[in-house]
Symmetry: D2
Subunit: 410 residues, 4 copies
Amino acid sequence: MNKKKILNDPVYGFINIPNDLIFDIIEHRYFQRLRRIKQLGLTDLVYPGALHTRFHHALGAMDLMRRALNSLQDKGVEISDEERQAGMLAILLHDVGHGPFSHTLEFSLFKGVHHEQVGLWMMDRLNKEFNGALDMTISIFTNKYHRPFFHQLVSSQLDIDRLDYLKRDSFFTGVYEGSIGSERIIKMLNVASEHLVVEEKGIYSIENFLSARRLMYWQVYLHKTAVSAEMMLIKLIQRAKELTQQGEKVPATPALSIFLERNLDVKDFGEDQDILEVYALLDDSDIWGSIKFWRDHKDIILRTLSERLLDRKLLGISFSNDPIGRIITDDLMQKVSSKYNINDHEASYLVQTGSVSNSAYIASGQSIKILRKHGEVVDVAEASDLPNIKAMSKIVTKHYLCAPKELLKH
Amino acid sequence: MNKKKILNDPVYGFINIPNDLIFDIIEHRYFQRLRRIKQLGLTDLVYPGALHTRFHHALGAMDLMRRALNSLQDKGVEISDEERQAGMLAILLHDVGHGPFSHTLEFSLFKGVHHEQVGLWMMDRLNKEFNGALDMTISIFTNKYHRPFFHQLVSSQLDIDRLDYLKRDSFFTGVYEGSIGSERIIKMLNVASEHLVVEEKGIYSIENFLSARRLMYWQVYLHKTAVSAEMMLIKLIQRAKELTQQGEKVPATPALSIFLERNLDVKDFGEDQDILEVYALLDDSDIWGSIKFWRDHKDIILRTLSERLLDRKLLGISFSNDPIGRIITDDLMQKVSSKYNINDHEASYLVQTGSVSNSAYIASGQSIKILRKHGEVVDVAEASDLPNIKAMSKIVTKHYLCAPKELLKH
Amino acid sequence: MNKKKILNDPVYGFINIPNDLIFDIIEHRYFQRLRRIKQLGLTDLVYPGALHTRFHHALGAMDLMRRALNSLQDKGVEISDEERQAGMLAILLHDVGHGPFSHTLEFSLFKGVHHEQVGLWMMDRLNKEFNGALDMTISIFTNKYHRPFFHQLVSSQLDIDRLDYLKRDSFFTGVYEGSIGSERIIKMLNVASEHLVVEEKGIYSIENFLSARRLMYWQVYLHKTAVSAEMMLIKLIQRAKELTQQGEKVPATPALSIFLERNLDVKDFGEDQDILEVYALLDDSDIWGSIKFWRDHKDIILRTLSERLLDRKLLGISFSNDPIGRIITDDLMQKVSSKYNINDHEASYLVQTGSVSNSAYIASGQSIKILRKHGEVVDVAEASDLPNIKAMSKIVTKHYLCAPKELLKH
Amino acid sequence: MNKKKILNDPVYGFINIPNDLIFDIIEHRYFQRLRRIKQLGLTDLVYPGALHTRFHHALGAMDLMRRALNSLQDKGVEISDEERQAGMLAILLHDVGHGPFSHTLEFSLFKGVHHEQVGLWMMDRLNKEFNGALDMTISIFTNKYHRPFFHQLVSSQLDIDRLDYLKRDSFFTGVYEGSIGSERIIKMLNVASEHLVVEEKGIYSIENFLSARRLMYWQVYLHKTAVSAEMMLIKLIQRAKELTQQGEKVPATPALSIFLERNLDVKDFGEDQDILEVYALLDDSDIWGSIKFWRDHKDIILRTLSERLLDRKLLGISFSNDPIGRIITDDLMQKVSSKYNINDHEASYLVQTGSVSNSAYIASGQSIKILRKHGEVVDVAEASDLPNIKAMSKIVTKHYLCAPKELLKH
């Protein structure tokens, strides 16, 4: 069977699957599951084109990695065939541990289980299944490989992950101006003392990359309406867990039921191998399928949040620079209680406060290194003429208040 | 509340919602449901970007309609504000009656219930809800309006529906060369004796449109792998209905359960208003959510087909110009029976024959009318210099045979 | 000096210059001259974006060749490094012999001197300059190389030349629907018995390619207004030659003057090496620069045609399927004579008839070969299900009549 | 005659010519001349696609203006038909006064004659020709119109001019990441107290616009190689003037000859109406056409610079943050003198120093005004959370040194 398939990608044109091992990993159920996990969670409620999946992102990133490694080789960096394959697999699998709705439910459906950790467990199992073929891949992913630039291509301030998702998210949302020069940036990458650096002439591309990233936070990733929808989904899952654990009958797909019944945390994942297999059955369709049951549930909270998500009757939301005061929320809760005839605890599901920030996108403590003409390596923030790079990398926090629209207005 | 919203569309840039009525129709749960019905069913198993929905297509078509009506007005065709709104609503709602997976399940989940008929019933209900505001819309949709070109813009050989979906499907699949000059074709449209015509200079654009459409059939719509997946889904639903109606317990979402339990046909829809409401709750997520239950079902057919769809272990498929002979299928069935240890009836779910054709895309008896320079209107197939137009509009049928890959090879 | 430069191309993104020899050829004045020869002559008078040059097309084609050769190698066709370089150089230089305004002036400025022949002479000189480094390149270009598919990639019904220019012309004119799937077609190419073939599954891409090409003829290459402008330019050069050779003073750039003074034909080019060097100094700017002198010339024809071209006051033009009758042109000439107060011979410069056809784009006697699944090679026109391919490859001729607009109308 | 033409634009798709007056202005020789003035001067020597003209830019800007005015009307800003037409004409004609190679020769071919001033003189003549139809257009262009936002749309920190040229230059150079969200920014514009403002939610689009603009300076507008070519062209024209005024015979096109012979300045333009008409005959092709004569001129400087520009054998260039010291240049001049056997004055044409800055793009004293939610108008630099906006608007100056490459290296 010919496994050198070519995939159509509206973003890059074609993506080649380079060899049999990579083909087999893509065919694996762990990876196919990503077909049903959307990259941007509920963002399509605002940007209707934003339906692209983790599956597509992972393949796109793999192709960018191939181009990056080719370009580095052209510059004289030695890269063996094994390293090439491991680098491509590491980026292909970097998101394999994501659960339904990606980041949205990461901390409500489970307790303290990061998708990177789950991803690593999955890679370990794949490694067993493929007789150790992923050893170097895992070594790169966990930053144990002796040539750090491989890991930095997978995960750093200017990694292939970002180069793909910013371009891809910009493409599918239609926020064209968030597009970045992925290909140009790749041509500017180099390796110095086995670390990833950007050649000096690439400095304006980096600045533009940071600016595009910033635009995408506020225009897309932290868009008010999407935040409201995500908060509603989090609350809905919390309610479903609460009711289930109180002994109420809350129908859900088999895999989801297990996570509703038990408060599984990282320790359980580690101890019980079956839990990972159940997790590997979960995707966005478990959530939507279960919401279909909840639309008619006797619990008003479950019912209301489900119906509102399905019919896009979202809670209103307002952003502010300061935390929301207790007086405001108490007043809103009272209004909600009386309007819906529910108790305070129930009302708390419909009046939510919290904060969002772009910190998820700005890993602190890391930085982009610039390779000067004469071989010197400096931090991008220290390169002359670019005070704005520092400014653009600033972590900004905004506080939000969600509640039924008609009440929020008063 | 400002209802003149602007939506981002990667295909056209921006789509404006022009007035309050249209905004309210878009917000209606009937229309929001289309967010969860993919335009191309299971085609994303082949083209991973093809995740766009009926919702997005309907909005895009509405915007093309606006541009088409503007262009006709610029050419002197009188169009009142009411007609403009009705025309835009007619195309906005032309697909509102689609069920899960669009055409795929149209004839297996229900009996003889066309999506246009369901759509009309839904429009009738919306019309009541909006106090008759959709009278003219429905008149256009049912071709009763006294100016036929409005209906022809909604439904004909060269309608706005096709102008949007060909462009959109080409965009999201990444099959760029299937893209058509929607905007140029729109500029070439005119009205003669209240019928839609194309100006003569547009003849090469039409030819190119037909060629692109043809490419899209074979490259995308009737792609072997997608056909195989669709056949599997049809069989899966048939099996779920069969088991349910035999009294087996087949868990499914509430709305889907009702359609599994009863063989509802067009008469039932007409007589029982509640059935339409249940239908209006159905979308792709009911199917995927239910498949999640069936993956572990004790019935081997239900289980096998579910797992194969989720993990993309599709049945093999081969195409031929002639119908598949009985001897071949009998032989295959026997092999399947013995391999899976199932009876003949069960084996029939895994060995499928049938045919696909581009007839769904080529409405017979209709044609594209060309407006000659001196005012004469002729059929495009009769216009000189274009024998290929006839050739490109030919209905082609291909016969397929689906079966487990390892058996199909022998 | 690092000669592995990267060029930005709006069509493909980036074009890499792969090695030093290719870099040096690109830097050569023969090749740099192509920067000042527009690909589409005067077409920018209709499509204002169509300003792209032979220089850009040649580089784009070189990059497509690289991708085609890579793809063939992936399929097991053996290609040596020397062949790769020669193939890329052959396509890079395939248009190096073009004169000002490409095809427009090919037969009026010179007599019977085809650009391919001039190109070959230039390659011969380059070969001497580069000590025989172009031996294989020339062998491929002249179809003497023992592996014919190399020449077929450079020049055939489905060559890299067309794959680039159709895509590029579509891009810069903005006639998007003329775009072809260059990259997909390239992936469908293969080699059988050292001849270029297309794999069977590429048949719809080929059909689409032919349809797009046909659209481009009539929408762009043979657009009425562009044809009128080109005829005017031809007549203008004829008049300038006529006057010069009659002893009138007709200022022109040094290189152009030589070609105005003498009726050089293929024999002269062959015998006198200096003529080639003078030719190599000519480009579009010699024509425009000289027209700037002619705008005020005392000869009414030279003056009128120059002014009309500069100010885009083009002659009117009408197309018909039959040749223009003598009676019509005689009548028009009389009107022109009397209106402009000029003699019959002079009037003949303002009343022109002739014909255009797509024959330049359809090389007769050649065909596209399809590789069937089981290894059989057939002609595309004989492949089943495609009567339209024949139709689309039909040579169509149209007759035109040019004259001052106000007279043409009567 | 139907004057409602539609033009193809690869950037926007279609551009409509809305009425007869605008059509007639476009047809005028003043405007048609812009077809032969490239937007980016000699930048195509670096970015081969950058051949687009002032003509194309002006039409694109006109179409953006139409969309901006539509959007403002939708927001309730009253705009009369006359104002709409005048606004569109003002942007259409904003660059009509540009001379050959746009900014490059603005201060060497003439003395102190700004293109805006020449443009205004041309508009005055057009106004006479069209019987005062441009009164309001001129009033807007000169900022005398009582509603300042019209002028601000034509010329300010965030005007339609920039919204078009940044997008267009990005498109044709292929520097995709310099693309801006023109359409989104237009949707964010509003009018407060008759001044142009940006709605607060547009703040990230503005930031991105500034970042893209900054990228474009350094990546394109002030690209080293393009700066070198431009300096060479300036020196070439200076030499041609010097020689001509010394009585040497320097052939040139008729219009250019006049400007070589005389040192015309703003006073002459104002006093002598014929000079404007001669100016209106000048475009890029006068320069290229004349360079064709100079390639063989006996003056070594004229000859060398001409040949080097035609064959792209550009002078080397190096950038530094500090002015180039006298010692370095003196040393280089000596080397050039001795190598080329020329005197000091002649050598000064081949050793050039100077500076470039982005100040041309950042009009000091102006700013972008933000409309806060509650109606307050603030300066963008004062809006919170955007220290980088100030940084990105900083004027940066770089100093360059041009000289023959082989000498520069030492």
